[in-house]
Amino acid sequence: MSERRIRVLVAKPGLDGHDRGAKTVASVLRDHGMEVIYTGLHKTPAMIAEIALQEDVDVVGLSILSGAHMELFPRVRQELVDRGLDNVLMVGGGIIPGDDMQVLEKDGFAKLFGPGTNTDSIAEYIQTEISKRWAAEEAQA
C-alpha cells in the first residue's frame, strides 16, 4: 500500500563540532523525499553502525571536517560489515583532499563529496544508486 522511501542516516563521527553542513545536507535530502535520521555530534563508528542497524537505513552519510577521514571512514565501513550491513550505501562529505578521495572511493566507498558540491547532486546520486539496488533486489526476489 504505502510506498518504500529511502532512509538515510546522517552522522558525524569524531571530534569536530561543526554540524551546519550535515544539517543542511539532511534537510536537502528531506526535501527530496527521503527520511533522514540525524544523530547529533561525536558518534563513534560502532554507535553509527548500531543506529544504522536499528533504523534499517539504506544510506549512511558521514560528515567529517576534522581531517580524520582516512581513519573514520574505513572504521565505520568495518562496523557496518560486522553487523551484516554490507549493502548500505556510504556517502561522505567534508574537507577531503583529492588523493584521499580516490583511495576511499576505491575501498568500497560509494561516493565522496567535497565542499562546494551542489547539494541537489548528492540527493540525485543517492536516488539513482538506491533505485538500482532496489531493482536488483526485486529481480532476485
Binding site: 522511501r5 526535501d31 523525499g33 540525524y38
Partner: protein, 302 residues
C-alpha cells in the same frame, strides 16, 4: 521487519502470524504532547530508569513527514543519544508519511514486533498534533501526556482533546516559571472530568526531564495506572485491537472496492451531471452494497 510494516509489505501479515504468540508481554506506554514539550528528553530519562531495573526497552519515535516532499527529518534520537550505546535499548524512528491511517497501523505493528522480540517495555512518542498521532498513542496501555509551561495555557491542551486521552499528565520543565499554575489548572481539569464518577483520575506529576528531576515520580504514576488496569488489561487491549481491526478493514475495503472499482470516471460523470457529492456518494455506496450482496448469493449457490 519494522520496515516491512512501514512499507505495507505483502509479507508482513504472515510474518506477524509467526511471532504472534510472543506478542502481548510488553508494557506499552504512549507519550504525546505539544511540539517541544520535552517528550524525547523524558523518554530518554524513563528509558534510563527502566534500564536500571534491568528491563529492556524498545522506543518508537514518530515525527511528521513533510507534506510537500514526503521526506522527513527524524530528530528525536538526538535527545536519546546516551541510550544508543546501550544494547538493552532499541530505538526506531518513524516518519508519519501523511495523515492517512497507515501510519497508525505501521506504528502498532512496530510495537508488536518489539514486543515479540522480547522488549519488556515499549515506549512510543508522537507529537500531539493530529488524529493519526492520537491513534498511535491510544493503542498503548498507558498514555502519558507531556505539557510544559510557556507553550500556551492549559485550555489549549483541553481543547485539543489531549487530556481526554491522558492516563498520566506530566508537567515538564518545572524549572521554568508558570509550572505551578499549569499544574493546578490541570489538576482542576482532571477533577472536573472525574469527580464523583467511577473513573480513573489521571495523576498530574511535575518533572524536569532536562535536569533529571521528578522522572521517577512519572514512572510511579505510570505504574499506578498499570496496577489500576491489572485485571482489566486483557479487555482494555482487546478494545484497542478492535479499533485496529476496524481500521484495517476500512483500508482493505478502500483498496478492494474503491481502488479496484475504478470509480473515478463514474464519479466524474456524476458530478458533471450536476449532482452533489453526497448524492454521488450515495449512488456509489448503493451500487457497492448491491454487488456485494449479489456476490454473496452466488457464493451460496456455488
Amino acid at each position: 521487519m519494522i520496515s516491512w510494516a512501514e512499507n505495507g509489505h505483502a509479507r508482513f501479515p504472515e510474518t506477524l502470524e509467526a511471532i504472534w504468540s510472543q506478542v502481548g508481554r510488553a508494557c506499552r506506554m504512549g507519550i504525546t504532547g505539544p511540539p517541544g514539550a520535552g517528550k524525547s528528553t523524558l523518554v530518554n530519562e524513563l528509558a534510563r530508569m527502566i534500564r536500571e531495573e534491568e528491563s529492556t526497552v524498545g522506543i518508537l519515535a514518530v515525527d511528521p513527514s513533510s507534506p510537500l516532499s514526503g521526506g522527513a527529518l527524524l530528530g528525536d534520537r538526538i535527545r536519546m543519544e546516551d541510550r544508543t550505546a546501550d544494547s538493552g535499548v532499541f530505538i526506531r524512528s518513524m516518519a508519519s508519511r501523511g495523515s492517512h491511517g497507515g501510519m497508525a497501523r505501521a506504528a502498532v505493528d512496530a510495537m508488536d514486533v518489539m514486543d515479540a522480540f522480547g522488549m519488556h517495555d515499549v515506549l512510543v512518542e508522537t507529537v500531539g498534533v493530529g488524529q493519526a498521532e492520537y491513534d498511535v498513542v491510544a493503542a498503548a496501555d498507558t498514555v502519558l501526556v507531556v505539557l510544559c509551561p510557556g507553550a500556551g495555557d492549559g485550555v489549549q491542551a483541553m481543547k485539543s482533546g489531549l487530556l481526554e486521552l491522558a492516563d498520566v499528565i506530566a508537567i515538564n520543565k518545572c524549572d521554568l516559571p508558570g509550572a505551578d499554575r499549569l499544574t493546578s489548572d490541570m489538576q482542576e481539569a482532571v477533577h472536573l472530568r472525574t469527580a464523583g464518577r467511577d473513573k480513573w483520575a489521571s495523576p498530574v506529576v511535575q518533572c524536569s526531564a532536562g535536569k533529571r528531576e521528578g522522572v521517577e515520580d512519572v514512572l510511579v504514576a505510570v505504574k499506578s495506572h498499570r496496577d489500576h488496569l491489572s485485571d482489566t488489561l486483557p479487555d482494555h487491549r482487546r478494545q484497542k485491537r478492535i479499533q485496529q481491526v476496524r481500521q484495517v478493514v476500512g483500508e482493505r475495503l478502500d483498496e478492494s472496492l474503491w481502488m479496484k472499482g475504478n470509480f473515478g470516471d463514474q464519479v466524474e460523470a456524476m458530478l458533471c451531471s450536476g449532482i452533489t457529492p453526497y448524492a454521488a456518494a450515495r449512488r456509489v455506496t448503493q451500487n457497492l452494497l448491491k454487488s456485494a450482496q449479489e456476490n454473496q448469493s452466488s457464493e451460496f449457490q456455488a
